[in-house]
């Protein structure tokens, strides 16, 4: 079998900036923040130190039925919304079900269901626990539900690697197609961790911004005033397809999904290795596997969460991976607008990287008033940047607690 190439033929998302990927991209180019105040009752009850988050812009009931909503954890609802939209965007293709796969990652899984049903058990007893509690709270609930709705039978996979889950799942889809197990894979990530336990846990870790008086300015990657990430939620999914399969059906192709590089830090359960050795290895591997060199990469969508330590470690890793080639290479930090979607972050940023290559436009970050001198990168601020004509390639970084490093390379086609 000749080498199988993978292309992107559909995009779908529900995010803090909109109910579609088009609205999200418009919001990104307009420099809008997705930050909103949290429910007052929740704040009062738990006395949370953080008063805002990038919650989704869309009400799932606009798309899903009441019964679907009752039977799916919010994280699965988001995944289904994004997946159906991505398939529609791909032209609602007729595919042999045994050649259609699903790969949807999550960092946390069905935390709302788990804790709601735990409350039911304690307050009302075993008979008030919803019979679908287990299939709703398990981390693979999204992949399972999407596979069921699409009739996808080539396999339904879930990668759980914290904030790298979404990117790693898209890598799983890529591997399925490259390896011949599928011709098309609906791949991405989802998360709904805007639960008080998650705010409390991340707060105790000092990982969240507490800029409560100015939420839309709270996510400020690479700025000297950054004080932690802003919790986000949502889902992003792309339709990955074998190149000849896409061509044969006359599909619109956004870009080529050229490679994935992965590594583990084996350094600390939450802190990145400060010199960025592991992260840079993932980036180098991705570039090499795409058959490219550092000089071919014209844009990076950075992980850039807005934590004081993480942003510097990533900047070091990029410099280490690319050397002088990074000078003048525009770097986007889109979490400044979307917040940090945890297990969906890598997926959303993967989609934004595809759109950057497709539209030859690298988005600008907001809220960088004073670029940290420790960040030795060409970070795009104020105005989005045009990318060159001709063959181009871009890199997307995702890192997760546990030491996971994932880098994706997207190429123009």
């Amino acid at each position: 079998m000749s080498e199988r190439r993978v292309v992107v033929t559909g995009l779908g998302a529900t995010t803090p900036l909109g109910g579609t990927i088009a609205e999200t991209w418009e919001g990104i180019l307009a420099g809008r923040s997705g930050a909103k105040p949290l429910d007052q009752e929740m704040l009062d009850r738990y006395e949370l130190p953080v008063h805002f988050a990038c919650t989704i812009a869309q009400d799932p009931s606009e798309v899903l039925t009441k019964v679907q909503i009752r039977r799916m954890d919010p994280s699965a609802q988001y995944a289904v919304i994004a997946s159906l939209a991505a398939m529609e965007d791909a032209g609602s293709p007729e595919v042999d079900p045994e050649r259609l796969g699903v790969a949807i990652g999550t960092g946390i899984g069905g935390v709302w269901t788990l804790l709601d049903q735990w409350d039911n058990l304690r307050e009302k007893g075993v008979r008030r626990v919803f019979p679908l509690a287990v299939p709703m709270l398990m981390p693979n609930t999204s992949a399972g539900n999407v596979s069921l709705l699409l009739g996808a039978r080539a396999g339904a996979h879930t990668t759980v690697s914290a904030c790298a889950s979404g990117a790693e799942s898209m890598g799983t889809g890529y591997d399925m197609i490259r390896g011949g197990r599928a011709d098309m894979v609906v791949a991405g990530g989802t998360e709904c961790a805007t639960h008080p336990i998650c705010f409390a846990g991340f707060s105790q870790m000092q990982a969240l911004s507490t800029r409560n008086d100015d939420p839309t300015a709270a996510s400020r990657p690479y700025d000297t005033g950054r004080d932690g990430f802003v919790m986000g939620e949502g889902a992003a999914v792309m339709v990955l397809e074998e190149y000849e399969h896409a061509k044969a059906r006359g599909a619109r192709i956004y870009a080529e999904f050229a490679s994935i590089g992965m590594s583990a830090d084996a350094h600390h359960i939450t802190a990145p290795e400060p010199e960025g050795a592991g992260a840079s290895r993932a980036m180098r591997e991705a570039v090499e596997r795409a058959g490219l060199t550092a000089a071919d990469i014209v844009h990076i969508n950075a992980h850039a969460t807005s934590t004081p330590v993480g942003d510097v470690a990533e900047a070091n890793a990029i410099r280490r991976a690319f050397g002088d080639a990074v000078d003048g290479m525009p770097v986007s930090a889109t979490k400044s607008m979307t917040g940090h979607l945890l297990g969906a972050a890598g997926a959303l940023e993967g989609l934004l990287t595809v759109l950057a290559v497709h539209h030859r436009t690298a988005p600008a970050a907001i809220n960088i008033d004073d670029l940290d001198p420790a960040i030795d990168l060409d970070v795009i601020r104020d105005e989005h940047r045009a990318l060159p004509r001709g063959d181009i390639a871009a890199l997307n970084n995702s890192f997760g607690f546990g030491g996971h490093n994932v880098a994706l390379v997207i190429k123009s086609l």
């Binding site: 009441k66 019979p131 679908l132």
Partner: protein, 81 residues
């Protein structure tokens, strides 16, 4: 105490909430599994919600005998506290 009609319409509401089925479909002679396509997991939720709504206890052993909507309505009617 709810009469037969009130129990039927209350049950129809619960079934609608759980399955999205039109309440008008929920009639005395309809079989839960054969006519209404209600699986055992949905049946569990319907039973628990009916217990709460009508103040009855429907033992798990009894649930398998409730083949039709009429069976359930009659059981609830005869066992209301």
């Amino acid at each position: 105490m709810a009469d037969q009609q009130e129990i039927l319409s209350g049950l129809a509401e619960i079934v609608n909430e759980e399955t999205g089925l039109d309440p008008a479909e929920v009639q005395m002679d309809k079989s839960f599994t054969d006519d209404l396509d209600i699986d055992s997991l949905s049946m569990m939720t319907i039973v628990v919600n009916a217990e709460e709504k009508f103040g009855v206890r429907i033992p798990d052993d009894e649930v398998k005998n409730l083949t039709t909507v009429g069976d359930a309505v009659t059981f609830i009617q005869n066992n209301q506290g």
